[in-house]
């Protein structure tokens, strides 16, 4: 892709620069900052209250707050823009009640704006921050907070000046995840009529038919993301102070009744807005519009979705395991490199990735066919770019970062002495991995597999472009119906995706409880 961008025309670029690009760039930055800020507010606050206070219903809120992860952002964006639009049901009802006639009669926030997009995207992405912050807080050495108490701080102050700074690396990682998701998301911002750098990529590619410049713009975007990734890794370097003494009793800050109600309300609003409300809308649609025909229509795309997601999850997990163990056991000083490189894939927008894959598989396919012909075999056709191989490959590239993160954190929890013990017992490396590391890692492997599986089920843009003939997935079915303003018909598929997305969340929660 970078090569392709070298041939970009400077004319078009300067035209864009003189007209719309500055606004796009500022929109991109503002959106990124806004989403990160809001996700941090939503995520860290809720995590802090759930872990350190006696807020009402924390037993349920603890995992309910994870649910928005199961919602594809494009779905929520569509549902919300539809609902809060001038012509949407909320404003219509209000106009009905108060007998307003036109927009000049009253003020209502405009959902199709930068802040609107920022809020809705944050509602879907904040659970990343919540999840990582909560885990960090729960695993902190509670003696540090106690030390703070005895040095004269109240429980609240001790939390603010000790626990929170210590959770900073986790918060930074989650913030960078949120930022990458935001910048990589083309479809969602589109519903909000917000123009970002990604809009420019599409315009130059599809409108001006100038793929080179589009690639150049996409490269800018990726450099931006790369910068974030590096900055995040820098921030994390040398900061590793999780406690190795789990199950310490965490001091609970007692809140007044009013505070409990208020904060519980805050968390419930997040759950409601990020999951329950959109899910309820889907269910209502499904009840109103669905019939048996739709159920049967679900089968084939459902199976397709499961098939590609299954392959992708399995391959990604396998590679993540290889990389993680290589990183652990190798003494090569560049051993960190492969896993860092793989991480970038997550930040690449699906469509851009698909383009890059087409660019590399296309010639490869030609090469294969040419060879086949010279060898007098039947030409195999487009074995790479024309089959689900391409789709699975795209998923592998895109979601490796997720599996890597999960598995490498699992590997980190194995004490280093475990690497040495089997050798001292005369067991070889292969046996050691099989008998020691893999069994210990089983939960991480499973979680990684599930996360990738669900993300693959949700992924849209790459499948859209790379799929073979007559190959629909659930996400594509939804997309087609949405783009024709007929989500009602696809509500069942949407519900299915969401329900599948709930699986890893339930599992994650369950394994936490068990441990």
């Amino acid at each position: 892709m970078l090569f392709a961008s070298l041939g970009s025309s400077s004319d078009l670029f300067s035209h864009l620069w003189q007209t719309v690009l500055p606004v796009y760039i500022s929109n991109t930055l503002v959106l990124g900052v806004l989403v990160v800020f809001l996700s941090l507010v939503f995520g860290t606050f809720s995590a802090a209250f759930i872990v350190h206070t006696n807020v009402f219903g924390k037993k349920f809120l603890r995992w309910l707050l994870l649910l928005p992860l199961a919602m594809p952002a494009y779905l929520v964006a569509y549902l919300y823009t539809d609902m809060f639009d001038y012509a949407g049901p909320i404003q219509r009802t209000l106009r009905g009640w108060f007998d307003w006639q036109s927009p000049s009669d009253y003020w209502f926030f405009d959902i199709r704006t930068l802040p609107g997009a920022g809020i809705v995207i944050s509602l879907v992405l904040f659970p990343y921050v919540y999840m990582l912050t909560r885990t960090a807080l729960e695993q902190q050495d509670q003696n540090l907070l106690r030390a703070g108490r005895l040095l004269g701080l109240s429980a609240t102050k001790s939390f603010l000046s000790v626990a929170l700074p210590l959770a900073r690396p986790a918060i930074a990682i989650s913030a960078s995840l949120v930022l990458m998701e935001t910048l990589a998301d083309f479809a969602t911002v589109n519903y909000f009529a917000v123009n970002t750098l990604t809009t420019a990529v599409y315009d130059t590619w599809l409108g001006y038919d100038d793929l080179a410049t589009a690639n150049a713009l996409a490269s800018i975007l990726m450099l931006l993301i790369l910068f974030v990734v590096v900055a995040e890794q820098r921030a994390r370097a040398g900061q590793n102070h999780q406690s190795n003494r789990p199950n310490q009793h965490i001091e609970i800050i007692k809140l007044s009744l009013f505070q409990q109600l208020f904060i519980s309300g805050f968390c419930w609003i997040l759950v409601l807005a990020g999951f329950l409300l959109p899910f309820a809308l889907l269910v209502i649609m499904a009840v109103e519009y669905s019939n048996m025909a739709q159920l049967t229509n679900l089968v084939s795309p459902g199976l397709n979705s499961i098939e590609v997601s299954f392959y992708a999850a399995t391959i990604v997990t396998f590679f993540a395991l290889l990389l993680g163990l290589y990183h652990r056991l190798s003494i090569d000083k560049w051993r960190i490199l492969p896993s860092s490189l793989v991480g970038i894939g997550y930040a690449v927008p699906g469509t851009v990735l698909a383009m890059a894959l087409l660019a590399s598989f296309g010639p490869l396919d030609h090469f294969i066919n040419d060879i086949a012909r010279t060898l007098q075999f039947k030409e195999p056709g487009l074995v790479l770019s024309g089959t689900i191989f391409a789709v699975v490959f795209a998923f592998v590239v895109r979601f490796s970062a997720i599996a890597n993160g999960t598995i490498s954190s699992g590997i980190k929890q194995i004490p280093h002495s475990v690497d040495l013990a089997p050798a001292s017992l005369g067991v070889g490396v292969g046996q050691m991995l099989k008998k020691v590391h893999l069994p210990i890692l089983r939960p991480s492997i499973f979680v990684a597999w599930l996360l990738v599986f669900v993300e693959s089920m949700k992924e849209l843009s790459a499948v859209l472009l790379l799929r073979p003939f007559n190959f629909d997935t659930l996400s594509i079915q939804i997309y087609q119906l949405i783009s024709d303003e007929m989500l009602e018909q696809g509500a069942l598929s949407a519900i299915l995706i969401v329900l599948l997305g709930l699986l890893p969340i339930i599992w994650l929660n369950r394994s936490k409880e068990l441990s």
Partner: protein, 381 residues
Amino acid sequence: MGANELLSVKQLSVKLHNNVILSDTHLTLNFGDILGLVGPSGCGKTTLLNTIAGFNTPSTGELNIKRNNSNSANLVVQENVLTITPFSHVEPQHRNIGMIFQDYALFPHLSVEKNICFGINKLPKSEQKSRMTDLLHLLKLTGLEARFPHQLSGGQQQRVAIARALAPQPTLLLLDEPFSNIDARLRNELMLEMRQILKQLKMSAIFVTHSKDEVFTFADKIAVMHKGSILQIGSPAEVCQSPNSWQVADFLQLGSWIPVKAINGQFQSAVGELPSTEDIDLEENTVKYKEYSPKLQLLLKSQAIEYYEGGFEKNNVQVDNISITEHGFHYLLSSIDRDLSLSFEQLSFYSNFLLTLGQRIAIKIKIHDYQVFDSYDDILG
């Protein structure tokens, strides 16, 4: 509360997650004393420490803590008693107690300087500076102010933790297994050094340990805990000389145990009847220790064992193990006749006589103030 008392704990019991961890605990601590809480793991000593610090709330009972209200450097105590009951909790930060945690709990994101000044950051900068300088000097940390905890050795980390706890000039210092992470060779030296510092500052302290060596070196008073209650409190010498229960003597390893039977006002053991004199009223003892209890044990210190050349027919023990110590040879003896209910093993005997492994010898128990305990009961009346 007596004028000299800094802390009194009455009838304290603590429940955590519906498990009774402490029950009916009594304790007092005088100003300037260093109290060692000792006992096997799980006996509740850390819970007691945490309750005094304010991290647990009592479910019954009462704690009284005198608090040093002034921030002046010479630790003048203004009488100001905090009373803590199940119904009146005092937040940890208002108790004026310092604590040193087992893993030191230094703030990893702060430098040594910031760690030490953490508790006094409301004082004027100049005051902070002078206290820190004094503490750095006292604890031989000068020059390390800018370092971060992970750049320090274990001993240095511990000294930073001490400096941090001392900076707000607490009335009471709590130490949770303070020496468990220190190299064995350095431990004794460090304990003496720290004891000196605490004494120099007239600091009162309670520390928790499961090592009897630590408690004898470091403490002015020791309290032996067992299953959630304190069995005995006293100076190390008192406790050592007259332990009040089998558990205390056993945990502190004050000697070896040999089983005895009380018959007709006499104690019978595998090495014969215990010799009696008019000074020692055995009869009273046997009554006290439930004549027919099957689990009577005599605490036998090495110096109460007499080795004599009794001839072949009088040999009653054999040598199972020999090791060499700075006090001469250390033998572990066992009774030969294993069938008897009074037979014993692993009787420690220090001697300069040269014996060989498996050798059969004769020993006698010297007349002394016998300490017989019933190991069947947990606590003796």
